[in-house]
């Protein structure tokens, strides 16, 4: 089996065991990133998504590889779920020539057009209006593609969000707006910055179909995103989906997340998306007790090798600095 991004994408499409494996891959990958930071081997910043794996894998499993995704800079999980290889993603995060931007982008700028992952913007909410234009191309050229914009709860307060939703509705564009509501916009709890706690209600202002989904249940994520994609492909316009989820770590590497109330993290970990999916799979006899631990061990082994390989891989040379500023 080839390890191309497209093949990796196809693997999880209708296979819940593979979906579990991908969620575990994301969890373990983020742990590696966390540790590499601690060791000083990753520069700058990263935004980890531990706890939100079901959203990433659910979205990626629901879309066609010809659809487009604009995602947030908390994007390692989305990139891996959509099909980018751990090697390419880690290379980019470590600034290596083998990264998707040859190491010139870093953690916040992952992209791979072969699987529809458009450049990831590090500006909160910026991808929302861009997705409407991607949808415009699809609508105009009748390609049947859907444009998905993934953003956090904090983005629902920025103007680009409101302008983008309005445009998508007015032009009836094939767009899916997916809000990962992890309850904190950077360091601030939602209620301290935002007038509503159910962010899906904001779509009502634009008379846009909307859903609130348990983002810890991958099956729920898939069901809703597939439904929204069908609406979009049938010319029935945009959908807004709020995924209720939680990030286990702080906002970025410099944030220990001491602002969380006691017990909140533990309560969410009781509903860990990997554990939830594993339970379903065991109850359906698709997996046995203990299989999950084996998968975790295997994943760790693979990712450790990836880490070694990437850490010792080539740095980009000076020529890259002058590339891709303009199209010829």
């Amino acid at each position: 089996m080839s390890n191309s991004p497209k093949d990796r994408r196809a693997l999880i499409k209708e296979d819940p065991v593979e979906q579990l494996k991908r969620m575990i891959e994301i969890r373990e990958f983020e742990d590696i990133c966390f540790n590499l930071f601690a060791e000083g081997l990753i520069r700058g910043t990263t935004h980890l998504c531990n706890g939100q794996e079901a959203v990433a894998v659910g979205i990626a499993s629901s879309l066609e590889v010809t659809d487009y995704v604009m995602c947030t800079y908390r994007g390692h999980g989305h990139a891996l779920a959509l099909g980018m290889t751990p090697e390419t993603v880690l290379s980019e995060i470590m600034g290596k020539a083998g990264g998707s931007m040859n190491g010139l982008g870093g953690s916040m700028h992952l992209s791979d057009l072969s699987i529809g992952l458009l450049p990831t913007s590090a500006i909160v909410g910026a991808g929302i209006p861009i997705a409407t234009g991607v949808a415009k191309s699809a609508q105009y050229k009748k390609t049947g593609a859907v444009a998905v914009s993934i953003f956090g709860d904090g983005a629902t307060n920025i103007g680009a969000f409101h302008e983008g939703l309005n445009i998508a509705k007015v032009l009836n564009l094939p767009t899916i707006f997916i809000c990962e509501n992890n309850l904190y916009g950077e360091y601030s709890p939602l209620a301290s910055t935002t007038s509503v706690l159910d962010l899906a209600t904001r779509a009502n202002s634009y008379d846009m179909r909307n859903y609130i989904v348990d983002g810890q249940e991958v099956e729920e994520v898939i069901k809703t995103v597939q439904e929204a994609a069908t609406f979009a492909r049938n010319g029935e316009g945009p959908t807004f989906i709020e995924m209720k989820t939680y990030r286990y770590s702080g906002h970025s590497r410099s944030d220990p997340a001491t602002y969380r109330p006691d017990g909140e993290l533990e309560a969410w970990m009781e509903r860990d998306p990997i554990e939830l999916l594993n339970k379903h799979l065991v109850s359906k006899k698709l997996l046995n007790d203990g299989d999950k631990d084996k998968i975790i061990d295997e994943t760790r082994e693979i990712l450790d090798k990836v880490k070694e390989k990437v850490a010792n891989s080539e740095e980009p040379n000076e020529d890259y600095l002058f590339q891709n500023i303009y199209s010829e």
């Binding site: 487009y68 604009m70 998707s100 931007m101 040859n102 010139l104 982008g105 700028h109 992209s111 057009l113 458009l118 450049p119 990831t120 913007s121 500006i123 910026a126 929302i128 209006p129 861009i130 997705a131 409407t132 234009g133 991607v134 949808a135 415009k136 191309s137 699809a138 105009y140 050229k141 444009a147 103007g159 680009a160 302008e163 983008g164 309005n166 445009i167 007015v170 032009l171 590339q323 891709n324 500023i325 303009y326 199209s327 010829e328």
Partner: protein, 319 residues
């Protein structure tokens, strides 16, 4: 739009109303609402939409009614569109054209009269050109639409009433990155951009010295070779700018040319600009604000005669 169905237009009131400046009059009827799109008053939103469309196969031309409105869209233009090719590792191109009207002289007041080239020229990834007459309005736009990069075209409103014979088709294209020598001369190189090109043409006819008049046309990337060659010949350089003194485009030109032609210079290069004030509504004061033909003529005469930079009329006024 006849040549490629990928070209679409977007902007406020450009479809049903034919455009606030009537630049898209009749196009809705001809090309339909899929290609000629009235947008909400939401520049950030529709600039982002244009970028998304541009990087997935269309060639959008966005109209911005007044260049100041780019202030609310600057993230999408400078931080997103200009960097999208880079951020895609070279996988994407962004054939996006943004037209914006600029400039003073028509009584639009402080927030609808600026030129604002300087908002863009420290942003690699963008191209920036400024229209100076009907032919360059046509020719720069055609080149911009054919270009695979985001191109901003600034159009001075004070020129909108000008009429001239137009050369259409490829012969009439004005290449990006090339300036145009309008009249040749030996004593002084006078560089204008946008609305000041007409002023320097007129002033040069009355100047005693033999002047080489250059329309810069493109600011990113600007035509270093033509200007340097001209200054090597004349030994004197004047930039005539509609913008305030501080941070104006002439600083960039003069800094480069001085470092390349220092030994050939007969006089220090010289900038004629507006003062570092806001743009007044009152008609007489607005005229005073802008560099007039007479002021340009008088300043350049003094400059060539003395080989010194004459004092600007506003230089001793404190703001």
């Amino acid at each position: 739009m006849n040549e490629s169905t990928d070209v679409i237009l977007m902007g406020e009131d450009i479809a049903a109303a034919g455009g606030p400046w009537k630049t898209s009059d009749g196009l809705l009827d001809k090309f339909g609402p899929e290609r000629v799109i009235d947008t909400p008053i939401a520049e950030m939103g529709f600039m982002g939409m244009a970028l998304g469309a541009a990087c997935t196969g269309l060639r959008p031309v966005v109209e911005i009614m007044f260049v100041e409105f780019l202030g609310v869209a600057i993230d999408q233009l400078s931080t997103e569109a200009a960097k999208f090719r880079y951020l895609s590792g070279g996988e994407l191109s962004v054939p996006l054209v943004v037209r914006a009207t600029t400039g003073a002289g028509l009584g639009f007041g402080a927030q609808h009269s600026q030129t604002l080239e300087s908002w863009f020229y420290s942003t690699p990834g963008l191209k920036l050109a400024v229209v100076s007459n009907p032919q360059s309005a046509y020719g720069l736009l055609r080149s911009a639409i054919n270009d695979d990069n985001p191109v901003v075209i600034l159009e001075p409103r004070s020129l909108f009433a000008n009429r001239d014979e137009l050369i259409r088709g490829e012969e009439g294209f004005v290449p990006l990155g090339k300036s145009k020598i309008i009249t040749e001369g030996n004593d002084v190189t006078i560089v204008g951009l946008g609305s000041t090109v007409e002023s320097i043409k007129e002033a040069s006819k009355k100047i005693g010295a033999s002047s080489e008049v250059v329309d810069l046309l493109t600011l990113i990337p600007w035509d270093k070779e033509t200007i340097v060659d001209s200054v090597k010949k004349t030994g004197r350089l004047v930039t005539v700018e509609e913008n305030p003194y501080s941070g104006g485009w002439g600083s960039e030109i003069i800094s480069y040319v001085t470092s390349k032609c220092y030994k050939e210079l007969k006089a220090p290069p010289f900038r004629i600009t507006a003062p570092d004030t806001h743009i007044p509504f009152n008609e007489a004061l607005e005229k005073r604000y802008l560099p007039s033909v007479e002021y340009i003529e008088d300043s350049i005469n003094k400059y060539v005669e003395t080989n010194e930079v004459p004092q600007a009329w506003w230089e001793e006024r404190r703001v």
